[in-house]
């Protein structure tokens, strides 16, 4: 989503993005002319009149689980976004019985919070596991 019109989105997709991604952008490219939605999400840059780079992960209940906001010159890391999505999905599927430690990736150890884990996380998780 940006403040550009849907017509500009079409031109950008056809003339540039489709040369980076086969078949062009598959998901909806939304238009927020005037920045009302950007303001609603707290990421509209009033000085520049454009959206900052805001990224929101919304779960199937419509609840925001995470967000990240960057100023314009630095791009996002889609791999980190996917990692977070996988972690939120894992936790949701466990119905809150498991948590994912720092740097978790699919297949790595999760934590099962409870009285026995207090003071014993060091037995389950080491900094080298982040690699």
């Amino acid at each position: 989503m940006s403040i550009d019109s849907v017509f500009v989105h079409k031109m950008w997709d056809e003339n540039e993005l489709s040369k980076m991604v086969d078949g062009g952008v598959p998901f909806p490219m939304l238009s927020d002319g005037g920045g009302q939605i950007g303001r609603l999400y707290g990421v509209f840059n009033e000085e520049a009149g454009v959206e900052n780079r805001g990224r929101f992960i919304i779960d199937p209940d419509g609840v925001i689980q995470g967000y990240e906001v960057l100023t314009p010159p630095v791009g996002r890391n889609v791999n980190e976004t996917i990692r977070q999505l996988q972690a939120f999905q894992y936790v949701r599927n466990s119905k809150g019985t498991e948590a994912t430690p720092a740097g978790w990736k699919p297949g790595k150890t999760t934590l099962k919070p409870g009285p026995d884990l207090v003071g014993n996380v060091w037995k389950e998780w080491q900094t080298k596991m982040v690699e």
Binding site: M1, S2, I3, D4, S5, V6, F7, V8, H9, M11, W12, D13, E16, G23, G24, V25, F27, P28, M29, L30, S31, D32, G33, G34, Q36, I37, R39, L40, Y41, G42, V43, N45, E46, A48, V50, E51, N52, R53, G54, R55, F56, I57, I58, D59, P60, D61, G62, V63, I64, Q65, G66, Y67, P72, P73, G75, R76, T81, L85, F88, Q89
Partner: protein, 86 residues
């Protein structure tokens, strides 16, 4: 899910839906107030504010409502502008 939209000469717009929109019709100065007021950043663990927005997807102009996508995981990304470099 997303309904198709006619491409006309007026630039289509969207915006917040629900309570905020109701307020806007009741009080015409709301838009101005919204711009001046320092809005708190939305919070994790809270419901995503609903909105409708015109969109482009695979050759079609569509109208998208965020809440139509509830029931699945949604990634909402905002960015400064088309044809910018990053």
């Amino acid at each position: 899910m997303a309904e198709e939209m006619e491409a006309g000469c007026t630039r289509p717009t969207g915006g917040p839906t629900g309570e905020a929109q109701k307020q806007a019709t009741e009080d015409e100065t709301t838009t101005e107030t919204l711009q001046q007021e320092v809005k708190p950043m939305i919070q994790v663990g809270h419901k995503a504010p609903d909105f409708t927005a015109p969109g482009y997807q695979k050759g079609n102009f569509i109208n998208v409502k965020l809440s139509d996508y509830f029931g699945q995981w949604v990634l909402l990304c905002l960015y400064p502008g088309d044809f910018t470099f990053v």
